[in-house]
């Protein structure tokens, strides 16, 4: 899930589908701005900031973890933190969606959801509530923690790499994520995300990785 590859500069990774592939639920125009301007802007900014520092050449995860420094952030952390977290979050967001998304989970994901929440509907309801009660900018997450599926929300660019759960899914609820298509109607955007965009395949894949890591 690393978004960097070159040892010299971080690269802007493209979503795993063409920019018009999520229409009509998320417009090409939104992707062009959200990925092409916002996400690209974070990558460009970060590259400018790390040139000549000892963060240059690390992967994105290494930069985040090294600078966060276990809760004692290094001086460089605050300046670029938003950029770093944002890049990771956006990579994760694009692959949390897929054309023809939605539907229902299966296998282990379904089992864990039903065990913890009783039903998929109950879990999705809680996820939606998290997305709607994240006042201001932020993200709602499905995560894996202590053998369970959890729902979390974070503000601005805060990112689970420094938290205590493995992220499985995210939805961006910064206004720029939905404003061109839904304006103020965040509830409609989140419902549509759940019903038409959410990639349960990605959730399954990430759950396997998380379980393997936790073992």
């Amino acid at each position: 899930m690393s978004s960097s590859s070159s040892p010299v500069q971080l690269e802007l990774k493209a979503p795993p589908y063409p920019l018009d592939a999520l229409e009509p639920y998320m417009s090409q125009k939104t992707l062009e701005f959200h990925w092409g301007k916002h996400h690209r802007g974070y990558v460009d900014n970060l590259n400018k900031q790390i040139v000549g520092t000892d963060l240059h050449g690390l992967t994105l995860e290494e930069i985040i973890v090294k600078s966060y420094n276990n809760g004692n952030p290094l001086p460089t952390f605050n300046n670029a933190a938003q950029a770093w977290f944002s890049i990771w979050n956006h990579d994760f967001f694009w692959s949390s969606m897929k054309p023809g998304g939605g539907g229902r989970p299966s296998g282990l994901v379904l089992e864990l959801i039903e065990r913890e929440f009783g039903s998929v509907e109950a879990l999705l309801n809680e996820f939606k509530q998290a997305a709607l009660t994240q006042f201001g900018s932020g993200w709602a997450w499905l995560g894996y923690k202590d053998g369970k599926i959890v729902v979390e929300k974070t503000a601005n660019a805060v990112n689970p790499l420094v938290a205590d759960y493995h992220p499985l899914l995210t939805v961006d609820v910064w206004e720029h994520a939905y404003y061109l298509d839904y304006q103020n109607r965040r509830p409609d955007f989140v419902s549509t995300f759940i019903e038409n965009l959410l990639s349960w395949d990605a959730v399954s894949e990430r759950l396997e990785e998380a379980i393997a890591k936790a073992a």
Partner: protein, 236 residues
């Protein structure tokens, strides 16, 4: 509950003064809960163009501000009920919704007054006492504009950038608040003279990701007369 809502404070007051029957029978606490409504703008939605589009003004006012008010009223009702039941957990649990939605109502009510069409004085720099205070505390009007724009652009996530009067120090300065936190959350001695909304909904349809362009253009429709009046009112 409906009975409580109907009894006005005035009627209660006079009843008690005239020694009327004991209304404190424990049936309910007489309280009149004020509900809030959307204030009108004193200009048309399109009157601030091209600085801010009519489309943005309409959605911002009719959807966003209205939603804060609707949710604030709802939270207050729930708070009232929780207080009456003595449900402390619920009372405390409601604080974030009250701060967010109440703050949103406060902030946007100020914001509409901070804007004016250019043919009604929008963009005209302040003269008089506020003008001098800005020169004294920032060096020049241009310096203030530049600093406020850059602080607004640098604000991470959602929030507001303010020109504030510090009543204690009798100085003007720039503050930022996150989300819908009103200026008082930075200090009870701070009076908002001018607030600029830097939530994405304030500019996205027109300026997209380029918040600095929004901040460059909004100065053309800033109502400095209102800010001056607020300053004169407090600094006297």
């Amino acid at each position: 509950m409906a009975f409580c809502a109907l009894v006005s404070k005035k009627a209660l007051g006079s009843a008690l003064r005239s020694g009327a029957a004991d209304l404190g029978s424990g049936l309910c606490q007489i309280r009149r809960l004020q509900t809030f409504s959307l204030p009108d703008l004193s200009y048309d939605y399109g009157a601030l163009e091209p600085a801010i589009s009519g489309e943005i003004m309409k959605i911002h006012h009719q959807k966003h501000h209205q939603a804060y008010i609707t949710n604030y009223n709802k939270a207050l009702e729930q708070l009232d009920e929780a207080i009456q039941k003595g449900d402390t957990s619920k009372v405390v649990g409601l604080q974030s919704a009250i701060k967010f939605n109440g703050g949103g109502h406060i902030n946007h009510s100020i914001f509409w007054k901070n804007l004016a069409p250019t043919n009604e004085g929008g963009g005209e720099p302040p003269k008089g006492a506020l003008g001098w205070a800005i020169d004294a505390d920032f060096g020049s009007f241009e310096a203030l504009v530049q600093k406020m724009s850059s602080e607004g652009a640098a604000l991470q996530g959602s929030g507001w950038v303010w020109l504030a009067l510090d009543k204690e120090l009798k100085k003007v300065r720039i503050e930022t608040t996150a989300n819908q936190d009103p200026l008082v959350t930075k200090g009870l001695h701070l009076v908002p003279l001018l607030g600029i909304d830097v939530w994405e909904h304030a500019y996205y349809l027109q300026y997209k990701n380029v918040r600095p362009d929004y901040l460059k253009n909004i100065w053309k429709v800033i109502n400095w007369k209102h800010a001056s009046d607020a300053f004169d009112g407090e600094a006297a």
